[in-house]
Symmetry: C2
Subunit: 150 residues, 2 copies
Amino acid sequence: MTVSWQARELTVGDLAERSGVPSSALRFYERQGLIRSRRTSGNQRRFSRDTLRRVAFIRVAQRVGIPLSRVKDVLALLPEERTPNREDWARVSAWWRDDLTDRIEHLQRLRDNLTECIGCGCLSIDRCALANPCDSLGDEGPGARRLLSP
Amino acid sequence: MTVSWQARELTVGDLAERSGVPSSALRFYERQGLIRSRRTSGNQRRFSRDTLRRVAFIRVAQRVGIPLSRVKDVLALLPEERTPNREDWARVSAWWRDDLTDRIEHLQRLRDNLTECIGCGCLSIDRCALANPCDSLGDEGPGARRLLSP
DNA sequence: ACCATACTTCAACAATGGTTCAGGTCCGCT
DNA sequence: AGCGGACCTGAACCATTGTTGAAGTATGGT
């Protein structure tokens, strides 16, 4: 019957249990500026409930291979003042779905190329589409100069 | 007119230039057992030409996010004795294309779920399909226990 | 034979995404 | 008031995937 009922804030342990993310990772996210908390008089973290959504968002992004730095940038698009609402989340999620679509298309192109390459048994470096994704080939003498750009 | 013509072996610099992968990375790959070289009497590396394919294979795999340890396992399926032929490469590439297909399907499921979630504005942690990908929900009281397994 | 260039090793450092531990403090229940 | 469990910080450590630099050696062309 203490203040714990007040706004139903979450301790780091609560958040860890509900999200399945270890407390150590949550502290790390806070250090990185992905989530925030207020502190009690005794210096303990208290998270507002919408942090649960932020953490869900972070983990979903991570499953897709998006680095935390980028996740942070996207989360920064949420309003600071008020608790993000349904529409706010829809907005950032959409941004993010586009990213996912790009990744899927990229992988599909890669797979299609690979299927061709299996057909010809190549991976031939000099001619293979897979190995020369940037089409930066054919204007500087024989042989490829680069396999891959990244 | 020295021995350099012999079998057209590549120095680490040659390989770096032709593959677009820095020498430092190539040495690293060798340390990790992903590629091999013989040594000259002066202890310098000489790579056989098929190493170019191996490196191409490694970089393509990396673009998809496959860790080197796994790439190593797949490359280990190539014959040690002889130079891998067309069919050998087709075999390992196929193995690998399946992996790609799985990843694509996974991402598509993720995106479909996300699209639904944008529809409902949720990412609601307790009910959202995205946040509960393992369907391990609904048999232990209210509220999700885990957001994500990996 | 000489010299520039490329090569060698080893160690240290970098970024990402955390975990673990030590030493100490706080919270809430009885 | 006391106690156990949860929380705090900071530093050290882990794996992955390399890069950079120092100090020394080899190779190949003139």
